[in-house]
Symmetry: C2
Subunit: 228 residues, 2 copies
């Protein structure tokens, strides 16, 4: 098996190396930085491919091509396809949760708080690649208990708890009438989730103004808003 190769010395050079030379940009210098960049490229490419084709139908060759690396390189960063998928979810989800979690500025009414939250969710998730990831988790969850567990633990249970706290505050302050709502924070969140799914599946058939829908939903919970 002489791997062969050697191939033509492939002098021409263009490649192999990274273009660094020609353009002279050479921003990344040391190896580690380069490796991190590649890892990021792989994660990005993998997300695109998994979202587009689902786990089983995604080819590692395609991920490699899209990331601009050789297939073997993927295995320098991830154990196998499955754990790549699981890590991928973590890598992408964690920062989103962090950002979404870190923004409760304890000011104003509960409705304002929730509205701020919703507006962020709208911007960060609905209709974005991130939203597609959520759909992907719904899709692959049953086959990846690890992913479903992670998602439940890190996103769902936290989100539900946070919403419940907000609802209880709203009830205490008299902003929310329906006391039972605290038992099912899912109701508060449901339209946002539906919006995520709708954008992935039906936007082409019937576009949905998610922002407006969420506003109407909040009006339903808090009562129509007086024109400020």
């Amino acid at each position: 098996m002489a791997r062969k190769s050697t191939k033509l010395a492939k002098p021409s050079a263009q490649s192999g190396g990274h273009a660094s030379a020609a353009t002279g940009e050479v921003p990344v210098s040391n190896r580690t930085a380069r490796a991190m960049e590649r890892r990021a490229a792989i994660v990005e490419a993998a997300m695109e491919e998994f979202i587009a084709r689902g786990f089983a139908a995604t080819r590692l060759d395609d991920i490699a091509k899209r990331a601009g690396v050789a297939k073997g390189t993927i295995y320098l960063h991830f154990k196998d396809k499955e754990s790549m998928f699981e890590e991928l979810v973590r890598i992408v989800i964690v920062p989103v949760v962090a950002r979404l979690t870190a923004l409760p500025p304890p000011t104003g009414s509960v409705r304002d708080l929730i509205e701020a939250f919703a507006s962020n969710f709208l911007k960060e998730v609905i209709g974005t690649r991130r939203g597609d990831l959520v759909r992907l988790i719904v899709a692959e969850g049953p086959r990846f208990p690890a992913v479903a567990d992670f998602y439940y633990r890190e996103v769902v249970s936290r989100g539900i708890a946070a919403m419940r706290a907000l609802i209880e505050l709203g009830i205490a302050r008299g902003e929310i009438r329906q006391k039972e709502l605290a038992r099912y924070p899912q109701i508060l969140v449901a339209p946002a989730m539906i919006a995520v799914i709708w954008q992935s599946l039906f936007a082409r058939h019937a576009p949905l103004d998610a922002q407006e829908m969420l506003r109407v939903h909040l009006d339903l919970i808090f009562g129509e808003r007086r024109t400020t």
Copy 2:
């Protein structure tokens, strides 16, 4: 269910032949009936497998084994794996829609109507194999435009229209306050969809009393119900 067939009798002759002779039961005699039975068994088996593993990861061999037929038999009924999946969705969805559609007995309040609808949905879909199918459609939809189109056309758009009509009636009768709700019937349906997904993904982590949640949601829309 109904793995059925053949089995029982199954003398020893495991063989392919059908036991018909031995027991003399010969329930289904003519070919067409037999063929229909087999087709149904294939559909049933395929649904189980697709739900459990997703489209790409499902093996036709497994479907055949589960259905109790040879792989080749599948190809007597379906052109290929892809069109089998598409037909499957139609075959399973159509009767559900028919049943769900056919039940508006024009009696009582709008809330009663919606409640009847919800209770049916609860019984027929949430937490059942059918609910899993819905999740599967959400999962595979983007890769099967034909399925997404069909589902939008036959289920979503009809459902939205029906809900909108109901909401408008409720508004006209003074049962529903929020007039804007008619613009987003999705809000009315969202908790039910969330319940479907929740049961597939998170029931093991945190069971959800879907019926109670839907009741709370209707209370939110119609106002708390007086104890009848």
